[in-house]
Amino acid sequence: MSTAAAEKIFIKGNEAVAMAAIEADCRCYFGYPITPQSEIPEYFARELPKMGGEFLQAESEIGAINMLLGASAAGVRAMTSSSGPGISLKQEGISYMAGSELPGVIVDVMRSGPGLGGIDASQADYFQATRGGGHGGYRIVVLAPASVQEMYDLTMLAFDLSDIYRMPAMVLADSVVGQMKESIIANPRPQTLLPEKKWVVRGRGEGEAQNVVKSLHLGDGEMEAFHWQMQARYQELADKESRWEEVQTDDAELIVTAFGSTSRIAKTAVALAREAGMKVGLMRPITLFPFPQKAYAALSERCKLFLDIELSTGQMVDDVRLSVARDADVAFYGRPPGAGSLPTPEELFEQIKKNYRAVA
């Protein structure tokens, strides 16, 4: 049965995540309470049993990620969600899932840190999410929603990409998009062609071969072969699945780049700049891994100045600098996350003006 509604509904970002997951046939949720994402487990606790699914409040973040590992290994679409302190605890399990080529969706509604930090919006877990986060050298799919509609759409996409590429997928949100309410269209699950899960551990049945889900590779050359295979998969992911949004970049002499909720403030600042007659555009990556490197490279063939804006002291800016042409400049403006540090559109407009002088 579909929970999708074609008409618009007014819903909180965190609830949109849970609603989309159920529509995407997620039938197991394991989680632990943490602000600012607790609406996600609360929605699942209320709605998942109605769909014949399993909601379980785990004893810990570590318990939750390992339950996800078990359910995914058993072939069921499953997810967990948390925020910074909890996501740190889950890194062990995420590494094992990556090593075991297991799908599974992890939602990180970022809050400020380090440590207990605060519950305000942050983008400072970009490194943790896009660099693998745990031990051993691996990447996971990372999607960055900038609206409640994208909380819904990208959660569904996370399940599909995770299944197709056999790796964990993370929805990297923040407390702004998690906590705000917007009108969305709850689209039905897309009819994506998914590979058959022949590797699933479900009891081998009579006459079937044994299936083993594991990350231990002790044989000569086995571990290296695994890594090369994953590198090829990451490349395929980058070639086929990179997603981004461009706003008024065609004639832009300065391109602002930002992701998630910060990109919305940046979009308003870009509009202010256009009103003032400045040729400014916006480049918003939607997939943070794979990072849309080729799109940045293409933009920088013509536009030689980028302004990266983040709610952190600068993390994505590394990827932007690695992606643009060698003769393009990348300026940075960011503020450390925390109560009161969310920039205003006017503040970002000032930064645009300051940098635009260099090209004007």
């Binding site: 390992n66 339950m67 078990g70 231990l216």
Partner: protein
């Protein structure tokens, strides 16, 4: 001629990596016997842990998930919740279950997850070379307790079969040993019961198997076996600590 003794179908015909005199092989055999006896092989999911037990999938002819250190009960919970019609068991050592995995085992047991946990207690970390485990006995010398376990500093060994028996979610908790034919036969019966309870959806079932570790104890297989008799069983008494059928 009738063949009366066979390798269980649930075990593969391969040599194990276990040291001479180690009881892991016997425990594997008894678990496989139980799966065969109850006709569960084709519907069973094994959950391997970290330590000497990690190669479960090399020896058991069932589907297996390998889990992070100590997390097997959480992984098993996920698998069982995803596929409640399957038989799910974990196989864990003492460092895995009673040290780094204490939270996972306590909570899985308390939730009464319909899984079976096989816990091998050999009073040491075997795979990493004989360090002090949460079950290392008072005064026992290991590579990280060179002067013997000092219970004022390191705490006393955990008695897991007793500890878990206090939780309402636990349907069956027993401690067995493999040091004599009589104890092996009894262990076979207990392991069979533990799996039968899972089939009957009675709740969480737990078997603690006292095991020798001649290599890390620095003993011959015979002397190690004798240590199970002389030192371990008096400290970790054998028996059924919880059986909901008797309540």
């Amino acid at each position: 001629m009738k063949q009366v003794f066979n390798r269980p179908e649930s075990l593969k015909d391969v040599a194990t990596h276990f040291c001479p005199g180690c009881h892991h092989g016997t425990v594997h055999r008894l678990v496989a016997d139980a799966l065969d006896d109850l006709g569960l092989r084709s519907q069973t999911i094994g959950v391997a842990s970290v330590g000497c037990s990690v190669f479960l999938y090399e020896y058991f002819d069932v589907d297996v998930i390998e889990s992070p250190h100590g997390r097997a009960p959480a992984v098993a919970t996920g698998a069982k919740r995803a596929r409640p019609d399957r038989i799910v068991f974990t196989y864990q050592g003492d460092g895995d279950l009673a040290a780094i995995g204490m939270s996972e085992i306590i909570h899985a047991a308390n939730r009464g997850e319909d899984i079976t946990v096989i816990f091998v207690n050999n009073t040491t970390y075997g795979m990493t070379g004989g360090q002090m485990a949460p079950t290392t006995m008072p005064g026992q010398k290991t590579s990280t307790s060179p002067n013997g376990r000092d219970i004022r500093k390191d705490g006393a060994p955990f008695k897991m079969a007793e500890l878990l028996s206090n939780l309402d979610g636990v349907a069956f908790s027993a401690r067995v040993a493999l040091n004599s034919p009589k104890n092996v036969l009894n262990a076979r019966k207990m392991i069979n019961t533990a799996f039968r309870y899972q089939v009957e959806k009675k709740g969480f079932s737990f078997i603690e198997a006292l095991s020798s570790c001649p290599t890390n104890w620095g003993m011959t297989p015979l002397a190690a076996n004798q240590r199970v008799t002389d030192e371990m069983i008096p400290y970790f008494p054998l028996g059924v600590y919880k059986n909901t059928a008797n309540l």
